[in-house]
Every structure is written in C-alpha cells, then in structure tokens.
Amino acid sequence: MSPPVDSPSDISHSQDGSRERPIRRLRFSTAGKTGIAVILFWSAMVLVGPWIAPYHEAEFLDEALFIVPGLDDPYPATDFQPPGAVAWLGTDYLGRDTLSRLLYGARTTIGISLIATLLAYLIGITLGIAAAAGGRVLDSSLSRLNDAVLSMPTIMLGLVVISAYGSSLPVLIALTSVIYASSVFRIARAFGLDIMVSDFVDAARVRGEGLGWIIRHEVLPGMILPMASDFGLRFVYIILFLSGLSFLGLGVQPPQSDWGGMVRENLAGLPYGAIAPLVPALAIATLTVAINLVVDDISAHHGGKLAGEII
C-alpha cells in the first residue's frame, strides 16, 4: 500500500543487525545472576508449591506428631514449634506447618501481585497512549485526574477504599491496579508524547497511515523496552503494598495464607523467639531484593548503551 519507510525498528531488523549497530549483550553481574536464580525458584514454587507442600495450608498438625519418645506428655503443644523433622520450618500460632503455608502463600502473594501489575500496565499504557495521541482535552483531563491519584499516599487510598468496600480478592486487585496504573500512565504518556512528535511518526502520517496503525506499529514497539525494567520495580512496589495491607489485616483474608498476613498472625510468637513471623517476611525480602538486583543490572546495561550512543 505504501513504500517501506525506514523506522528505527526496520533498520535493526533489515540486515544483520550486529554489523550495523553492535548490540552489547546483556551481561548479568553475580548479584544479578543470584537474583535471577531466586526469581526462578519462587516462580517454580508458584507453579508446584501446593503439590510439594507436606501439608495443606489450613491443616492443624496432629499432637501425636510432636510426642517426644521418653517424655511422658501425651498432649504436647503444637503451636510455635521450632523447626524439626515434623515441620521443617516450625509451626505457626495455630499449630499449622509454616513451610506448607509459605508454599501455598507463594501462589497467593505472587499471583495476586502479578495479576495486579499486569492490570496496572494494561490500564496505564492504554490511558497513557490515549492521552498522548488523543488530543489536548483528553490529555489534560486524564492528567489532572492522574495527578490527584498520585498525590495521595498509596496506603491512604487503599485504606479509604477498603473501609468502604471491605477486603476481598477482586477489590484488592482492582484497587492495587488502579493505584499503580497512575504511575504507569505517567511514564507511558511521556514516552508516547515523545514518539508521537518523532520524524518516523510524521512520515507514517504523511504516507496515510491511520492513528490505530501508528499506535500499533510505531508507538507501542518504541516504548516496550524502556517500560520493561519499570515493570520489575512496579511489581516490587505492588508486592510490598499488598503485603503491607495484609500485615494491617486488611489484605488477603484468612484462612488463605499470604506472606504479609502470615507475618501479622504470628507476631505474638516474636517475644518467644518463634521463627514463624520471620520466615514469610524473609521470603518477601528475598523475592523483592532479587527483582531489584536484576532491574539494577538491566538499567545499568541500558545506561551504558545510552552513554555509548551519546559519545
């Protein structure tokens, strides 16, 4: 329909890309590799966790399991037990297996966070591009609304909404994705505006492409890569936010296990040195630190490439 016009993506795909512009391969530092390993580990746990868990998440361990031979105690305590052969990571305040709850909770915590992040991206990118491509009125009204959402501390917005709607999985996911869509919107709009005024978009317009084509073939491909590293960070924020809500008792409701909630319900064991509240908190920390390490590596790589192009 129209003669091929060079756009940046055409150039790099046209011939042997490595000859035209040497693409530095993304090399991960030791820290980054550790991060990837941890992320892979937890992804595997999300997939198979409930099957390899020794018990069900809501199962109270039988007292008979804790009877110590030689001690004449037919009814031993089952709550806040230290790690042992029966429960590898000890038991929680109701005598449930911490390891099993951790494995079930991986699916809840990571699953909900991932869905919320994806939804936030869907909303944020859609509205961001709409604002960038849709004209002045749409842009400024969307931006003002977005400023208002951004100007509220996330936890406050969460508390207000949960006080009104109560806490359930759909409410949590919708709430989180709307809150974090506002920051995605800001980035997507900025990139979108940049790309919309570029020469290759002008060229596409001149040769008669429609707005839909331009968005699909020029705008979206141009913003995917820089937004990918933001995805990791946003995912971390969402995990922390949802865990914080759970910790306040306003997130995922029992008996479903969830890492933030597990910390809260076992806090009472802290003065006795029980590890039940620490295990889920450390699980969150390993995952979020791991993602941050990988993101750091990727953005360092981007930075290096950018600097190379400028010089």
Binding site: M152, M156, A164, G244, L270, A281, I284, V289, D296
Partner: protein, 322 residues
C-alpha cells in the same frame, strides 16, 4: 517570574487538594454498608435504618453531602465519629479524638526527621564522594536491601534484636500521655529507629544519585581538567547544583513517611493518627477515615509542594512553565 511560578504551583496544589477531597468522599460515601446499618447491627429494620439515616443526613444526595462535608471541614468541624455513638448518644467529636493522636504522630515524625535527615545526607554524600570504593558499595547494597524489604520486616527484626534478645527497650510503644523524660524516650525509641532506617535508606540512595548526576556533568569535568582540588570542586561547583535535588529528595521522603507511619504505629501499638485511621477502617467509621485521610493527604501535598519549590528555586529553567 519566580513569584508567578510559585503562585502557579500553589494553585495546582489547591486544585489537587480539591480533587483529592472529592476522591476521598467518593471512595467512602457513595457505597453500600453505611454507618447506620453498623450502628443498628442486628436490630436493623428497614424503618429504623431509614429513620437513623435521615437523622445522620445519610439520605441526602451525594453531591449535597459532599458540600456539607467540605463546608464543615473548612470551618474546622471534622464531624462526629459515628461508630462511637450508640442509639441517640451523639458520638464523639472527631476533632477531640484526633488532637492527641495527631500530636503523638507529629512527635514521632519530628524525631524521625531530626535523626534521619542529617544521618542520611552524611552517608549519601560520603558514598557519592567515594563512588566505587568499598564504602560506597557497602552503603549502596545495604540501602538497596533495606528499600526492598517491607517496613514490617525492619520493625520485627529490630524488636527481635533490641527488645527480645537484648532486652533494652519495650516491644510495644504504648503512650498514655502522662509519660515524661526517659519513659517517653524509651517508648518512642523503637518506632523512631524503624522509621529512621526505612526513610534514611531512601534518602541515602537518592542523595548519592543526584550528587553523582551533577558530578558527571561537563562543567565538573571542566573543573577537573582545570586542575582544581577535589574539595573545591565538590563544595563550590557540585554542591550548589545538588542542593535543589537533595531538598527535593528530603521533602519527598518525609511525605513517603506517611505510609511508613501507618505500618509502624500499628506494629508498635503507638497511639498516633495512623493507628486511629487503621482502627477506623476496621470499624468502617467513615467520617473518621475521611478526616484522617484528608489530614494525611494535605500533609503529603504540602511536602510535595515544598519539594517542588526547592527545585524551582535551585533550577531557574523551571521558572518558565512551558
């Protein structure tokens, strides 16, 4: 021009505040499960619910209730906490509930700011001045770890070490209002320490980044090539241009404290405003939630405004809005 830019920011801040108030009101008021049904509980009949709603003014259209609420708010009347009121007892005025709690939270936040700001500026500048060395790398890694863990992990770890194993401080921070001197300090110590750790790691990272950003600009390279001593470069050339970003960072992170305060006050049972709000959310005491949210959001907007102002003052190019 400067005054115009500042006025522009003030106007934007006010507009944002109005939009926020609408959002807070919409978020809580147009929804099912109102206070009338909670007060009556199992005794609710359709007639008694309707009667209570009309005495509480809940049967008015939403926009009327918004303006009534906003008018009361502006005249300093924060309303009556509904959940506290039994059948016909009238409830407690929210301003009376909030005043002592607000004072507690301000004490906590003030103590945190006093410690965290100088501490993290020092560490951030040190890391930036010795970029790439072992000191810098250990600071960077520690703070990266600390910003990516939840606040409640920092808090529980501190309780475990300081209160349980060492036994130096109490594990909760209950303040009845009569404490003075050491007792008050002891109660405040752990919550303050937690928030200092959380806030500092953010400020350190951003201070380091903004100083390094300035240090990598061409005019610094020029100064280096001229052979100026490093001390003079950092103090006379880099610092004046980094002051704006750094003040910006500090204000933004004090604003960020708002969410940290919610978690920390809950974990230590510290009777501050945030704890009041979390309790109000659990009892669905909507007027109280709205009042607390407005206070927190206003504080947040003011701090962000200060951050903005700092960057305008330090960067003349921002004085001319495009």
């Amino acid at each position: 021009m400067l005054i115009r830019a500042v006025l522009h920011r003030i106007a934007t801040g006010l507009v944002t505040l109005v939009v926020v108030s609408v959002l807070i009101f919409l978020g809580t008021s147009v929804l099912p499960g109102d206070v009338a049904s909670i007060i009556l509980g199992q005794m609710a009949t359709p007639e008694s619910l309707a009667a209570l709603r009309s005495t509480l003014g809940l049967d008015q259209p939403a926009y009327l209730r918004y303006f009534m609420w906003l008018g009361d708010l502006l005249s300093g009347d924060l309303g009556i906490s509904k959940a506290g009121s039994g059948a016909g007892t009238g409830g407690t005025p929210i301003s009376e509930m909030i005043a002592p709690r607000l004072a507690n939270t301000v004490h906590l936040a003030g103590a945190v700011a006093l410690i965290a700001v100088p501490l993290s500026l020092g560490l951030g500048l040190a890391a930036a001045a010795r970029a790439g060395t072992r000191l810098d790398r250990s600071i960077t890694l520690t703070t990266l770890g600390l910003v990516s863990v939840p606040e409640f992990l920092v808090a529980t770890a501190l309780v475990l070490v300081v209160a349980v194993y060492l036994g130096w401080l109490p594990a909760t921070a209950y303040v009845s209002g009569t404490e003075t001197g050491t007792a008050l300090l002891k109660a405040l110590a752990l919550p303050t320490l937690t928030l200092v750790v959380v806030a500092s790691s953010q400020i350190i990272r951003m201070t380091r980044a903004s100083v390094l950003n300035v240090m990598s600009s061409p005019y610094i390279e020029m100064a280096v090539l001229k052979g100026l001593p490093r001390r003079r470069i950092v103090l006379r050339h880099a610092l004046p241009n980094a002051v704006g970003p750094i003040v910006n960072v500090i204000a933004l992170n004090l604003a960020y404290l708002v969410s940290g305060v919610v978690i920390v006050e809950t974990i230590f049972a510290y009777p501050g405003l945030a704890k009041l709000m979390v309790d109000a959310v659990q009892t669905r005491d909507l007027p109280l939630v709205q009042a607390c949210a407005m206070i927190f959001c206003s504080a947040y907007i003011v701090l962000v405004f200060i951050a903005d102002l700092a960057s305008i003052l330090s960067n003349p190019r921002l004085r001319y809005p495009r």
